[in-house]
Symmetry: C2
Subunit: 395 residues, 2 copies
């Protein structure tokens, strides 16, 4: 009688969330220090001091009627201008304030972008493993998510499979680099190849395929030589969905943006679609206090060196115990091959060693597990003997 | 090619917003003090000191990983518990934390509630004059908005017209009291009559009609004898969409909630639908800093005495000049009969006297204009000679 699809979405808790709740119960039973919880991607590093200082200063010095008042639907002009200037200086683009639309985080960005672009029956391609909410957002916008398997082992884009998946219904492609859950970063060459295929397909059908870059993990890369190519420099029909959730450790505050590439021939139409979608979805404007914050700390990031150390320690230990691991270049996830075919069974066995990890099945990729290493380094160290025993149990 | 409906929504600026932008240009031309801008409903009273103090204290004392972290999708438990206890004490309900779902303001609340309830083709009734975005939210959720004319002159609910408008497709009714734009507050008797009709219709068709109370203006009533009945005490199938935008002068921060009446037989289904809709629309959770704020200031309101004084001054002056005015019991809008049939022409003439007011046509009610009196009392006083000359021009 009421909307069955949304009732189902509300009833079925995600497997990740279930595991997280199990972890809380288990910690109460056997003590916090004895459970090794790698289930969720909640930043463990606090927001940098600059964030708290700027928020307090803004609250103590700005006129409250301005500060807490509505901004224009696309966001405060001076905030968007700051972001345009910064993006241009950093990536060599030529964007202006009116290419930016401030949002309630990456989920808001994706929902708005997809509702702007999709008509009923349109297809959106992404590469598995992928963040499971993509399916929810695409389907709410009336579309169908088409998952194209990445290359097993490397988790790079499988260009042949992508070509086979493109159809006359393809409206968009979502790329997520650094990737959740694999931690893979796509190289410039990969992005160039991807764009070449999309351009060829668009020319063939006469309908542009839009490229949506989901970038909450852009700032979370750990090696100097790792570059994350800026999609707008390679492809006209592109939108960047950005969020400060991970880079500034503000996931609960919901602040980010959509940037629409002004090189696309129908830019005005797409930007208007973004505005209209935000209105229809009920967003009104992104929280103003956090918009004003971003104007001050747009180039600050949390101390991600903790994640780098965690990555290096976890990788070297897991390899030592015989696990087959994709070394992540970014984000704070490690994707590990399950020692048995059924990754769910592996995760259940890991629970016996008080290790909480998520099967890749949830990300559309069987036979692997995701380990979120945005955790306390001390817990990480304490977990190694358990990982070792877990590995030995398969010998 | 892309979503035409959302492109249109993004291109067509609301008439209110157009007028507001005109006002900005005009102020630059002839001086801020010479333009009498009554176009928009942006609170002119600053957020109370308690809000700034609580925000600063929270920022300076809470663990940032907790404070800025994800809450559960429905909101932090302790925040919801506080709201349940407060609502029960205030209205005699028996709600618990799990009846509440924290949202990004009233627009978010309405979008979530409507997407939870509606299937394609469902009808939602509201009473004109009404807030124009209702149509946008209902249509995005796949429904059709059916506007039932309120009684001309009093703007009370026309029960006969309501009965005629009910159909087998009616899924919900939106009531907004105190009303934007008329300022009318529905009495207990009116609410009882409304509920009786909806119950009778639900029994006849076998399908419940859901009653959605849109309550951003609940705290903005100006006379002791004016009571705003709490809808849950009269009707099982009810949801309250609340916002702190006007009561705490925080419209740009986007914080509010949906409360689902736990007396409805299918409560769990509807609450799950709300959760699922929030997920599908991309909300994730309401901004955590503002959730924590509400836990501390849930019973505080801005100094609304300024609005009361404005109402009384404006009402007595307009009546003196011969205007026909509905005296508002709440909100910060006055609905005035146009001295000529075409309210748009009247608004254009008002512009010549530098008075900016909005035609009722935008609210689905011809022949009236809306005056937003959430303005500086000094500007209000300065505007009276202009209103007088405007009235005289019709004699």
């Amino acid at each position: 009688m009421i909307n069955e699809k949304n009732v189902q979405l509300g009833m079925v808790r995600s497997c990740i969330r279930e595991l997280f709740e199990y972890g809380k119960r288990r910690k109460a039973e056997i003590g916090e220090e004895n459970v090794y919880d790698f289930s969720i991607g909640n930043p463990s590093v606090p927001a940098p001091k600059e964030v708290t200082d700027a928020l307090v200063e803004i609250l103590q010095t700005y006129d409250p009627v301005f500060l807490h008042g509505y901004t224009s639907a696309q966001g405060d002009y001076s905030v968007r201008k700051t972001l345009a200037d910064y993006t241009n200086a950093r990536f060599g683009t030529n964007l202006d304030a009116d290419c930016f639309y401030m949002t309630c985080g990456a989920a808001g960005s994706l929902a708005v972008a997809l509702n702007a672009l999709l008509n009923s029956g349109d297809e959106v391609i992404t590469f598995s493993p992928y963040f499971p909410e993509y399916k929810v957002f695409v389907e709410h916008a009336g579309g169908k998510l088409v998952a194209v398997e990445a290359e097993k082992g490397t988790f790079k884009i499988d260009l042949n499979k992508l070509e086979s998946a493109l159809s006359q219904h393809t409206k968009g492609v979502i790329v997520n680099s650094p990737n959740n859950p694999s931690g893979v970063v796509y190289s410039e060459e990969e992005i160039k190849n991807l764009c070449k295929i999309l351009k060829k397909h668009s020319e063939k059908t006469g309908n542009p395929v839009y490229l949506i870059a989901d970038e909450p993990y852009r700032e979370l890369v750990y090696d100097k030589e790792t570059k994350v190519p800026y999609i707008m420099n390679y492809y006209e029909y592109s939108l960047v969905c950005y969020s400060y959730s991970k880079s500034l450790s503000l996931p609960g505050e919901r602040i980010g943006y959509v940037a629409v590439n002004n090189q696309m021939p129908n830019f005005s139409e797409v930007y208007a679609g973004v505005l209209g979608a935000g209105r229809a979805l009920g967003f009104v404007c992104a929280p103003n206090l956090f918009q004003q914050l971003i104007k001050k700390v747009y180039n600050v990031t949390s101390d991600v060196s903790v994640y780098k150390k965690n990555r290096d320690r976890l990788y070297s230990e897991l390899v030592k115990y015989g696990f087959e691991v994709v070394k992540p270049d970014g984000a704070f996830y490690m994707f590990v091959k399950s020692p048995e075919e059924d990754a769910k069974a592996f995760c259940e066995r890991a629970k016996k060693y008080e290790i909480l990890i998520v099967p890749g099945d949830d990300f559309g990729c069987k036979g692997y597990v995701r380990i979120s290493y945005c955790v306390d380094p001390n817990m990480l160290e304490r977990s190694f003997p358990a990982f070792k025993r877990l590995a030995e149990s398969y010998k």
